[in-house]
């Protein structure tokens, strides 16, 4: 260390981390609902809001990586329904083994993700528009194909399919702590957070994610594979959506063809609350996970407080604005430009 670095202090070093705002927010929300409700901080309460946070957070973390890479994916929400529908239709209607159906569903997700990425890179159009297109297209396919095959807009009966027990154990079982059942989705979430955080700050690929989002031409000029990096990020969000879709279909054994609409914005909101810049190049996986945690805690906390659910939207709006303002300030501190 150079002597001029000197007293940069713990607060200064913490404040440039993108997830600090979200951590403070999470603490405030937790304390608030612990005080105003009785069930919130009980083990049962924790199990409930952790599960809600987990199914949101798995995709939010992947979306955060994509946003750091400078792109959006509006199709991620509907993709959770599409993948569930593929799995459910193949195993209930065509009698496939659940494992085979799950694998085909994953391949489908990877294909759509790659197509999203390829279209964005090939056309140079904003990913907002391209994935808005795939969002609408998937929504139509979900309803159209489900109706054509089953005659209704839902697929159910997963429980009696071949291989359900094993797949269900992996994706939709529970584990018990202190006499309360926790959903295994929470463990999946932890695995996704750990993998994403490690990938982002400890690997070459993570370095490339920051670079393609921070300044794509600079990254390309020093030899970063721009197109490959971004396409892989789109495939990442699709894979995360597949994981949540699979968890959902195996847990609830039924899927509605119009499920998942609106989730895409929740993922983006969680990522932004967690410190991701809308313009790319800055953010963290742990921050996005904290954003999802705030989301889950507030949604369930409002239920425990027996308030009308309308207040959740107000809370969300205020939270989002506050997060953007705080993050903006933090980022300016992080890159105080002196000339």
């Amino acid at each position: 260390m150079d002597e001029r670095v000197g007293r940069s202090g713990l607060t200064d070093r913490l404040i440039v981390r993108p997830e600090v705002g979200a951590l403070l927010g999470a603490v405030v929300v937790f304390v608030f609902f612990t005080v105003v409700t009785e069930q919130f901080a009980t083990i049962g309460g924790v199990a409930t809001w952790l599960d809600d946070s987990a199914t949101l957070g798995i995709v939010a973390v992947a979306v955060a990586l994509l946003m750091i890479g400078g792109e959006f994916d509006l199709s991620a929400g509907v993709m959770t329904a599409s993948t569930a529908l593929v799995t459910a239709t193949l195993s209930t209607h065509y009698g496939w083994n659940v494992w085979a159906a799950v694998v085909v569903s994953l391949l489908f997700a990877l294909g759509v993700g790659a197509l999203n990425g390829w279209l964005v890179m090939r056309t140079g159009l904003p990913s907002f528009i391209v994935t808005l297109g795939s969002f609408l297209a998937l929504q139509g396919l979900n309803l159209g194909i489900t109706r054509a095959i089953t005659g209704t807009v839902q697929v159910s009966g997963m429980r009696s399919t071949d291989g359900y027990a094993g797949a269900g154990y992996l994706f939709a079982s529970t584990f018990t702590i202190g006499g309360v059942e926790f959903q295994i989705s929470i463990l999946w979430w932890v695995v996704v957070i750990a993998a994403a955080a490690w990938l982002l700050v400890r690997t070459r690929f993570g370095n490339w994610i920051f670079a393609v989002g921070g300044s794509a031409p600079s990254a390309r000029a020093v030899g970063v594979p721009l197109v490959r990096t971004k396409i892989l990020l789109f495939m990442g969000t699709a894979t995360a959506a597949w994981l949540v879709g699979t968890i959902n279909i195996l847990r609830f054994t039924t899927v509605q063809a119009n499920q998942g609409i609106g989730l895409e914005f929740q993922y983006i909101i969680a990522a932004v609350i967690g410190g991701c810049l809308l313009t790319g190049g800055f953010g963290s996986a742990i921050g996005a996970a904290l954003g999802a945690l705030i989301f889950g805690m507030a949604r369930q906390g409002i239920v425990y407080a027996q308030w009308n659910n309308d207040w959740f939207q107000l809370f969300l709006g205020v939270m989002l604005l506050a997060a953007v303002l705080v993050n903006n300030g933090l980022r300016k501190r992080a890159e105080r430009v002196r000339r």
Binding site: W198, N207, W208, A211, A221, G223, F282, R331, E335, V337
Partner: protein, 258 residues
């Protein structure tokens, strides 16, 4: 020995627009070739061909005697040609050492599972910068917190460290103050003294003259002249740059009106 880079009657058209034609020059090891010209003279087109961003469609482009045609900047880099662009040399929000190693990150690990060797990254960056005489406070700080001149220097040090044989600098002093520009030019001279061939693009003859060995003047996509340093002095260079006779005519005109 053949020069590091040699272009012969090179040309490039975008549709019906002739961006560059009949340009020839050489870049030797340990020498600075300076490309001068006003906006729209074809400077950018020339360096984009050299850097592998665009391909020439006329003439010949040789690297160490071998005719080449690069399809990507990566390919140019693999041939030892590194380019430092004016405003996109670095990613501002990333730390100095992450920028330094971007695209060539040091890793460690077992077999296919590899992760960044952050310690090596930091110490190597600090040492490489120090070798170039660049003294930074902290390699973990975002590059955006550095001054414009320091950013250029980091990019130059990076190219030198990764074994570039030819360094292309696109307007490295354009956005800088007088003092900062001087600092950058000193590093250009240092890269030259280490035996690199340097292509310096600028529209400021006062920045070009002290460090360059050869001057290529471009105008409207065509060569206006090429001079060794011994053949031309700074006044003549400035005169040619400013349009020479045209400027004198303008001066007369303005005087007549006064």
């Amino acid at each position: 020995m053949s020069p590091l880079i040699e272009v012969v009657d090179i040309g490039k058209t975008y549709g019906s627009v002739i961006a560059l034609r009949d340009v020839s020059t050489v870049v030797n090891a340990g020498e600075v070739t300076c490309v001068l010209g006003d906006n729209g003279a074809g400077k950018s087109t020339l360096i984009k061909i050299l850097a592998g961003v665009h391909q020439h469609d006329r003439g010949e482009f040789r690297v160490e005697g071998e005719p080449v045609r690069f399809s990507s900047p990566r390919e140019a880099l693999d041939h030892g040609i590194a380019t430092v662009y004016q405003d996109l040399a670095v990613v501002p929000l990333m730390s100095v050492w992450r920028n330094f190693f971007l695209g060539s990150e040091p890793t460690k690990g077992f077999g296919p599972v590899r992760w960044l060797d952050r310690k090596t990254g930091r110490t190597t960056t600090r040492k490489a910068l120090a070798d170039m005489g660049i003294d930074l406070r902290d390699v973990e700080q975002p590059v955006g917190t550095l001054s414009g001149g320091e950013r250029q220097c980091v990019a130059i040090a990076r190219a030198v460290h990764f074994g570039a044989k030819v360094l292309i600098l696109d307007e490295p002093t354009a956005a800088l103050g007088v003092k900062q520009a001087g600092v950058v030019l000193r590093y250009v001279a240092q890269a030259r003294d280490r035996g690199l061939g340097v292509v310096l693009i600028t529209h400021n003859p006062h920045h070009a003259y002290p460090v360059a060995d050869r001057f290529l003047l471009l105008k409207r996509g065509a060569p206006l002249g090429q001079y060794e340093k011994s053949e031309i002095d700074i006044n003549e260079l400035t005169r040619q740059m400013a349009g020479g006779a045209e400027l004198e005519a303008l001066e007369h005109e303005l005087r007549a009106q006064a």
